[in-house]
Symmetry: C2
Subunit: 224 residues, 2 copies
DNA sequence: GGGCGGCATTGATACCGATCAATCAGCCAG
DNA sequence: CTGGCTGATTGATCGGTATCAATGCCGCCC
């Protein structure tokens, strides 16, 4: 999941694997805290997230970290470059994953339809990352955080009574490293949104969107 | 071209098209200032840059701009997402381009070898963009500019006497929109590098690298 | 040659977000 | 329940980059 330019709210439907029938390997289940792969590992499998949440990260020698993306249901992670993984990937929320062989992406011989689906997923990934560039390079802290909540609301928000609830399983540090901010700034920005009654914070991992229109406006850079 | 983590200096050799033989369309030549495609256009061709420089940009409604990448010799531009272009692309330096049909990327029927090459290029693109995230999200102005010059030096620098020359055909505004800075900051950073005798500025579009090691150190965030 | 226009540089200042530091809250172990 | 640990929040301050403004540079056209 990247922070892309908001369009119309998306469906937020259940994810069905690309091939429900005889996809070679069975679904995998991974507990929170476990790792799927590390930077430098050679790629054997790609994974489509069915349920749960993954975290893809990259580190600099001096300790600076970038969260590249979060893997939400429907997302496919693990695209190889020169046959290798270029991020670490671990599990934030216990996940069910559909593995696909790297060979299904890289050559269409076995299953042309699956090959096509994986290729299209890679191409959509490029486009989504381009949008994310705009966010990292050009948006202010409040725009970043508002955009982040908006995207998650569309992807995994749930209507509870009058308001939409969004789970944030990741830490404030993860959000900061994803958006190119510090934890303190993320925290302050949440507080600011809470005080202006645009969101409420039910518990540290759940925000309730009180004024979705105002939140969307902030994400687009409208001056309040 | 993205600003990736510097590794060993790369070859900087001439680019040969993926298929020199019967690649269906002949090489195209495009003058500086002309556009290859616009955001929203449906994708018919991908282009490999043989010579010259392209610029890929994306705009927000309020005028904020992000330069997504520069297309340098060897780069392939125009990857579709849902069949559409998601950036504008125009020519900075008159270019020779090798076009490939979108169908050669999306289905391998016609030319499996070309299909494979285009697919691998798309996958490398994803990896390079991940590196670029780190740059946009976590690096300071001086690290960004130093990294930018280092990458261009590896890609298209030329040794002239004792020093390496790097052409910067794009404007300061382009560099700023690429690195997530303002023109003023880019300009000041160049001045700072010049005053500390790490680079010299021959003319506005040519920098001479006087102390490559110092430049590389700055790009990695060493406190000189 | 002279003037104009666009881009780059430089300067002064403002402000956003980082940094450093001090609680605070939740959670687990004993 | 209590103490300690970890992550979040809040506060005070600093600094880097943006912003606003003036000037400089250079190419181009009349």
């Amino acid at each position: 999941m990247y922070v892309t330019i908001p369009t119309q709210p998306s469906a937020n439907a259940d994810v069905t694997p690309l091939r429900n029938a005889h996809t070679i390997p069975a679904e995998a289940r991974l507990k929170a805290g476990s790792y799927l792969y590390f930077e430098g590992d050679s790629v054997v499998w790609l994974y489509q997230v069915i349920t749960g949440v993954l975290r893809l990260t990259r580190m600099l020698e001096d300790g600076r970290r970038q969260v590249i993306s979060f893997g939400y249901p429907g997302d496919i992670v693990g695209f190889p470059s020169d046959g290798l993984h270029h991020t670490d990937c671990d599990v934030l929320v216990t996940a069910r994953l559909q593995p696909y062989r790297r060979s299904n992406l890289e050559c269409g011989d076995g299953d042309p339809e699956l090959h096509q689906k994986l290729l299209q997923a890679a191409l959509r990934e490029i486009s989504a990352m381009q949008d994310h560039f705009m966010m990292l390079g050009r948006k202010s802290a409040i725009e970043k955080v508002a955009s982040f909540i908006c995207v998650l609301s569309d992807r995994v928000g749930r209507d509870c009574g009058a308001y939409r609830h969004v789970e944030l399983p990741m830490s404030r540090t993860d959000i900061a490293d994803f958006l190119g901010l510090t934890t303190e700034t993320v925290s302050r920005t949440f507080t600011q949104l809470r005080k202006s009654k645009i969101i409420a914070i039910d518990n540290i991992h759940t925000v309730i969107i009180l004024r979705p229109t105002a939140l969307l406006a902030l994400s687009l850079g409208d001056r309040e």
